[in-house]
Symmetry: C2
């Protein structure tokens, strides 16, 4: 067992994720061993991480934790590992760090990456290259079960990883359907790998792990599911997916929290409408009414929204290879945003979103992508086209 | 029979509504008798109205038409009559005339008021002060019938006139439910009063007329229902209502045309979602997906949207009388628009719509209302707050 992995296991035990204070140190370039030593020694440079780790800093359970994970076929994956989902996490939490999301305020303190993932299943490499969150109420109706199964049957065989929370209801139907069509599915759990919540899903989770899927959690072994952990778990479902679709959700359903996280992290929030006579669709309708989610009715709708974000797609790859210039390489939604920019001068994201007819969070997302490709320049709140020569 | 009414009856016979050319003459101040004389004499000043009336100008059927209408208990209502719904028509076609609606292009030539309404039922006075269009597919499901009835039961007893097209399906349920709760309902027909379409609704229409409701049409007696007349009829449903809700509509349903007219005329387009597994809701979902309709799930949702437009409402009348200043008299949506304006300088409607979080057509509508009250000033495409002293 490497010293570094032991240091990460120590950090996972004494700092409950998400920790903005710990992330700040990692971003500043401190490595796991240095951080572990600092916490143990109560170093003065810890800053807010000092009080955060005061009660637990003397705990030395790295070997026990790693052994407990191994006992259930699990391991600790850290930012140092090749299988760490760096792209997805950087995308989501990098977006959060820009402060551009209007929906971020509520979640500000928790909008940081995990500092470790405990994983049962094969290497995570590629698991989130094309991933969609599929969530909903535990108290799902026959309609909700049918729609969940229909959507997953249209996504999982097309190499879309189905992420969900492993709960009863919509989550379970999503995972089960993905398995039934030979797709990949990942459970993001709100407790340690040695806990199973809900207990009736022990067999389901085992089949997922045996079918190229995974159960992942940011909590070390022994951690019990608690209310606040469901909320931070929801943020990982949203972060690791290009978008999250909620199929049925009542007014106070936790699935709406996952949708809020998708907004906050620059991912695409989507909702399926249903009969207005059913309370199980009321939360979906509320988000649609407020224009805080895109209305989707089919797997094709979802793919049209998510593939437009430049995910892997054979056809667009083909177009890319033969495109004569940069603009022709743009996806449909990218082109809408690009075309919405004035020919001369700048415009702010609000204005561009209106002109493009796209929701603001998606527009900002696309603007940032276009900026990364050098096609746009940002000046304060305004964006303008870069000269393309 | 007055000479003027005979002149209007002549115009209704020789000029099939809507006629932009005829409206232009009316707007320019020519009265019915002068226009009738001009058409009969093939006057040079007719302009485009000349060719439009060439084939029919010699028809002299005013007395027969008025008699045919009287035979089925009907009469011709003209812009000269006190019961003419001038407010509603001016509001809708005045909005269309500003050219501000982004959805108007398709309908440009037909976006003018009727030049006469043939009416069965009591005087129209007040009928459209609080009116809502309720439309949908003929091939409605049990769900569509239930939702239609629920919505109408929440609107009709609260002095909302229910407008619809008198067709089978959603239209029929809307009219029937309004009758069943003692509410007022109006059929806008696509044929002459002496025709009944569909024929199975003869009894329904008679009961409507006997219950303070009406059957109205812009077509003279003898006119048969034809495809183009359904489309222009739809424009009157939209024009005479503060908003139109579509309950079920397939991809190609005519009810979507009524919704497009609501957009084009600055009225509020609304759609009820339904099961994504039902083709009958697919048109509703398409409009919601494109953000071309407001999602509504209940009569309360509809009233919240429409009453915000300053329609008659006891509570707001009370507030109006006692409000200490102009701003406190604003409805919730008016206030959202007003607050979205910058404190200094101007902003265009796109930007204000985004800041207010309201759809563009509704925003423009509210801006025009605020301008009429002297609270805003328009300069080119920009709007700014007027000094309130």
């Amino acid at each position: 067992m490497s010293v570094t992995r032991q240091a990460w296991a120590y950090l996972n035990r004494v700092v409950e994720g998400p920790s903005r204070a710990l992330q700040a140190h990692l971003q500043a370039g401190r490595d796991a061993e240095e951080l572990a030593r600092g916490i143990r020694a109560r170093a003065s440079w810890l800053g807010p991480l000092g009080p955060e780790t005061e009660a637990r800093h003397a705990w030395q359970r790295s070997e026990e934790d790693l052994a407990a994970a191994a006992l259930v076929g699990g391991r600790l994956v850290t930012p140092d590992d090749a299988e760490w989902p760096a792209d997805a996490l950087d995308h989501a939490f990098g977006f959060a760090a820009t402060g551009l999301s209007e929906h971020l305020r509520t979640y500000q303190s928790d909008a940081v990456a995990p500092h470790g993932l405990w994983v049962r299943g094969p290497a995570l490499t590629g698991a989130f290259a094309q991933a969609v969150g599929v969530v909903g109420t535990r108290a799902t109706s026959a309609y909700g079960r049918k729609v969940t199964a229909d959507l997953v049957r249209g996504l999982a065989p097309a190499q879309w990883t189905i992420l969900s929370g492993g709960a009863l209801g919509v989550d379970a139907v999503a995972h089960e359907t993905a398995l039934s069509v030979g797709g990949r599915t990942v459970v993001v759990a709100a407790c340690g790998l040695d806990q199973t919540y809900p207990k009736t899903h022990r067999d389901l989770f085992a089949r997922i792990v045996d079918s190229d899927g995974a159960v992942i959690t940011e909590y070390p072994p022994g951690t019990t599911p608690q209310r606040h952990r469901f909320l931070t778990r929801n943020r990982l479902v949203a972060a690791l997916s290009a978008g999250t679709v909620v199929i049925e959700a009542g007014w106070r359903s936790g699935a709406l929290n996952t949708l809020s996280w998708a907004e906050a992290l620059g991912r695409i929030p989507m909702a399926v409408p249903g009969p207005v006579t059913s309370a199980a669709s009321s939360g979906c309708h509320a988000r649609l009414r407020e224009h805080r989610a895109q209305l989707v009715t089919s797997a094709d709708d979802i793919r049209a929204l998510l593939e437009a974000l430049g995910s892997v797609d054979a056809e667009s790859q083909y177009e890319l290879a033969f495109a004569p210039d940069q603009i022709q390489q743009l996806s449909r939604n990218e082109l809408r945003v690009y075309d919405a920019l004035p020919l001369r001068g700048g415009a702010d994201a609000d204005r561009i979103a209106t002109a493009a007819g796209l929701p603001l969070p998606l527009t900002i997302h696309l603007l940032l992508d276009l900026e990364r490709r050098g096609m746009l320049i940002r000046e304060g709140n305004d964006w303008r086209r870069a000269g393309l020569g």
